[in-house]
Amino acid sequence: GVFAHLEMLEAQAHETAVKEEEMEQRAEKLARLKARVQELRLQRDKLRAKVDLQQNRQLEKGGVVSNPTQPTAQAVLEWKTKSLKAMLQVFYLTGISGKLTKQGVCFCIITAYESTYLDSYYLDLVIKTAVQIHRHSIPIFIPLEQLAKKYLQTDIRRFLSVLSDHLNAYVGRRYQADQLQEHFSDQIEGTVQRNSLCNLLVFNYKVSSKRKTFPFHVRLLYGDLCCSLPTEVVISCTPDAPKSLAETAAAHSDLFRRMALHKAFRYFSSAEQS
């Protein structure tokens, strides 16, 4: 009776207290978030004004702006540091960069294909009485030791240049296979099979003739390891394929020999549509 009633009132009071606390907390959180938003908006507006002013000043003077206030020596040196770092970054774009170390030099070979920069590899050289490769990140299927034996002691530039050729060609072949897999997967049956050096590619793709599709089997061999175009192209069709497809196969074979894989596919995709 009374006791149960008291319990119930206690429980209600407790519930109400908990709810009130929750609401207080929510209100506090909301207030905090609102304040933070205001703070950030103010900061953002100030920055925007600063940037606009800076751009207007630059437009007026048209180019190099002389500092209105005398810069500190530290500011000047920090500018120079940033400027030198930017210059070193430009060297990356040439495909070769490096840094002097206590024991020699650490070179970096930056690869690219069709204006797109791809992987970088490093080569840490120790120079004492002879030049030694201390550490490197060259993949194992690149004939590094062979090249080093031939050129490293007598002509470092040549060594780096030839190594760079190998790496760039490998990366270029791999890029083509990846692009083909990514952008023409509807025409390729299965996957593009390749070895680690990406100088042997095997795949099947669909060719249509008179509203029927026939599979072409392609084997590409890149005999020149410094080249990203194949030296040998073998295209074969199934025995039930019409004779006219032999011409298509020959045409495709020629294309594969002359241009990048994904470009060849783009070419005959658009030719088919026309």
Binding site: R26, K29, L30, K34, R36, V37, L40, Q43, R44, L47, R48, K50, V51, Q54, Q55, V65, N67, A73, Q74, V76, W79, K80, T81, L84, K85, A86, M87, L88, V90, F91, L93, T94, G95, I96, G98, K99, L100, V105, T111, A112, Y113, E114, S115, T116, Y117, I127, D155, I156, R157, S161, D165, N168, A169, G172, C227, S228, R258, M259, A260, K263
Partner: protein, 233 residues
């Protein structure tokens, strides 16, 4: 009670923080790109910087760090220029676009490679992927001066006009030649204007005297093989 109101504020906070970071970077980039100090001013700053911190013990460390960093960068740069034979004489850049995932900058470079001087302009697009940064060069334009070295200019023109006949193809480079002082009549009659290399950078040893080295995918250079190997020790 719904928490969506919190989400709205939290989203705005995140977007504002990103915007602030971008604006700050834009400001810094612009300051850097439009300022210029001569070597003389740099030298004077180094001296006054050292004087400022000579007394203080904590300051001294940071000053020597900045100076050490500067020296190390200069040494590396000077080494690279000597090693590759590429001397950059000026570099200016302008940030054209900057968003969270994309930065586009216009670069203007001038320099020389042994006796061959060049000027390059290009756009560099950098995109932030999930694991790395992808970089692509577009709108490349190269201007080269051959001066009186007619052998060199003949060779380069022959090379570029006959590249199509070459069987070795590697990377793709977009070359647009704008040249001011072609010295040989051969060159002007060939009118090398617009070469779109479907294949790659060209490396070929043609004559005994000349070896052409092209670094992908931006710079074509000609090195004479009479240049001695640099002493690296």
């Amino acid at each position: 009670m719904d928490n969506s109101i919190f989400q709205v504020y939290e989203d705005e906070i995140q977007s504002l923080e990103e915007e602030i970071t971008l604006l700050a970077e834009k400001y810094e980039d612009s300051q850097q790109e439009t300022t210029f100090f001569s070597d003389k001013e740099i030298l004077m700053s180094i001296k006054s910087f050292q004087r400022e911190f000579l007394g203080e013990s904590e300051g001294h460390e940071s000053s020597s760090n900045l100076k050490a960093l500067l020296e190390s960068l200069e040494t590396d740069l000077s080494f690279l220029m000597k090693f590759t034979g590429i001397q950059f004489t000026s570099h200016s850049k302008k940030t054209v676009e900057k968003t969270r995932n994309r930065t586009v900058r216009k670069h203007r470079l001038s320099g020389n490679c042994h006796s061959l001087s060049f000027q390059l302009e290009f756009q560099l697009l950098e995109m932030q992927n999930k694991d790395n940064v992808a970089a692509v060069v577009t709108d490349l334009s190269i201007a080269m001066e051959f001066g009186e070295d007619s052998d060199l200019s003949k060779f380069v023109s022959r090379s570029f006009s006959s590249y199509a006949q070459w069987r070795k193809h590697r990377r793709c480079t977009f070359l647009h030649f704008k040249n001011r002082s072609w010295t040989e009549h051969n060159i002007s009659s060939q009118s090398i204007k617009h070469l779109l290399c479907q294949s790659s950078t060209i490396k070929k040893k043609k004559s005994d005297n000349l070896q052409m080295l092209i670094f992908p995918p931006v710079f074509p250079f000609v090195l004479t093989s009479s240049i001695n190997n640099m002493d690296l020790i």
